[in-house]
Symmetry: C2
Subunit: 294 residues, 2 copies
């Protein structure tokens, strides 16, 4: 049980975390700060936070748990803004979709206080941004990846595991490097492809007519193309090396499929499709037990 | 109201059409044929068809409405097998996802009897194949594209419109050429990309580990990668010119996005993402009123 959550970034992810902690009875009070005062005010009005802070530092003041939920490129500036109040016993976490860059920024800025930081990436989201879409169950039944540092305080790491578990997450640990390689493949590249694919249809002369004919397959394939532009700008830049590596692999597979299509090799094409289709049919998303019984 | 539906191809699409017609009270009896006798037998056991025919021709015999629901490359052979019983008054339709190739095959094989053929493409599907997934509501609330020929009998065209409307579809008409160009963009290319993307993740050394971390965005983006291999082999080959044209456009857009990622141009990247994200957020799938009140 915590006394006060200091929330920096009152958007979809941060707002949902605040609601989830309240729902689980894990926190008495939430003090929130967003770069835009109108967002902070909206979060207060919606009951997502209890008190609006005028700065990130003021949100940290008096908090025993702090969540940074900003686009990843804003992590370094956020660490700088709050470092003087990151003190022993305070559990500091983020929710960024990339981890190497955030961990590097934390090391640079927090120095020896980096031991209080437990980097976290919950595998969830929505194709709509903003605190108005915050949802107490966004994290329920999802995985969260923690990428602790060698110097991370083991007691704080355990506290972090307990908090995420209590709001319904399955907790996994890995290194920031392994995290970024894996998520380039299963999250960052698909977002890039979805943005590029939707644009390429949308911007062609007959694009509007074509879009009026699209069905449920298109709808699901492009759902993530509506994701938050500032968040994804930062992710794709922060993890660019791994993303470009994955894109290269994807292009090679696409080349191979186009080659058999062009040459009319039906058997080879069916083999390639069947291998993907069977793989996908046998894949299941990891879904830990949701916290709905709480 | 029809006396007998002759169903050639008792899979997901054909089986669902039979169930939908029965549900709407549009047909007294369904006689079905599939290439595999065990499929035909399963369809009979499940009540999707009333009588199993031993050949496509026998399924057409005595039927006043005939639906061909086979992978598109099998259309020509099917037309050949049934042409002697395609007689005045019989409404002959297909459900193929490509239309130029099917219409060409119909012209070649049926000759002057092509006037009884109303080419149809309902915009629906599931990522699972087989009659066991047939669903009376698969077509409800969806669009269906008809691509009639100049010589199509207007009375049969009207009957076709009435049948699809009665099972809950919104009926659109266009030329086979416009149809194939549009669906290369909004359906065939996304399937190709989903197959290629899933394969490229799946087949890399750490692929299995990566897949265990994938979340809801990945799940939706790759749903269509589980589609029926024989069906999609035929579609991608039949419409290869348009599909490869669309793939080229997509690659150009992807190139442009990778270029700004590589050069670290955050502003340009955000602009590209924002244009896609806003376009997608404003897009809505056309959803005619479902036939659930019937």
């Amino acid at each position: 049980m915590f006394n006060q959550l200091g929330l920096i970034g009152c958007g979809l992810m941060g707002g949902s975390f605040a609601l989830a902690m309240k729902r689980a009875g894990l926190v008495k009070r939430v003090v929130g700060y967003s770069k835009s005062p109108s967002t902070t005010e909206k979060a207060r009005r919606l009951g997502v936070i209890d008190l609006a802070a005028e700065s990130a530092l003021l949100a940290v003041s008096g908090s025993d748990i702090v969540l940074i939920a900003v686009p990843v490129a804003a992590s370094e500036a956020t660490f700088k803004a709050i470092r003087h109040l990151v003190e022993p016993g305070v559990l500091l976490m983020d929710v960024g979709s990339t981890k190497r860059d955030v961990v590097d920024a934390a090391r640079r800025v927090l120095k020896e206080r980096v031991e209080y930081f437990v980097p976290a990436h919950p595998i969830t989201g929505k194709e709509v941004a903003g605190v108005e879409h915050a949802d107490a169950l966004l994290y329920s039944g999802r995985q969260v990846i923690l990428t602790p540092l060698p110097q991370t305080d083991p007691k704080l790491l355990q506290k972090a595991i307990d908090v995420w578990s209590a709001i319904g997450c399955q907790v996994l640990k890995m290194t920031p490097e392994n995290h970024d390689a894996a998520f380039a493949a299963v999250s960052h590249l698909p977002h890039l492809l979805a943005f590029a694919f939707f644009s390429s249809v949308y911007k062609q002369p007959a694009g509007k007519d074509f879009l009026s004919l699209a069905g449920p397959g298109f709808r699901d394939f492009t759902r993530i193309a509506a994701s938050d532009p500032a968040v994804w700008r930062d992710i794709l830049l922060a993890n660019r090396e791994e993303v470009l590596k994955q894109s290269m692999r994807f292009r090679h597979t696409l080349d191979a499929m186009e080659h058999v299509i062009r040459s009319g090799n039906a058997e080879a094409l069916e083999d390639l499709i069947r291998s993907a289709a069977e793989g996908r049919a046998n894949w299941q998303m990891a879904t830990p037990k949701p916290a709905s019984s709480r």
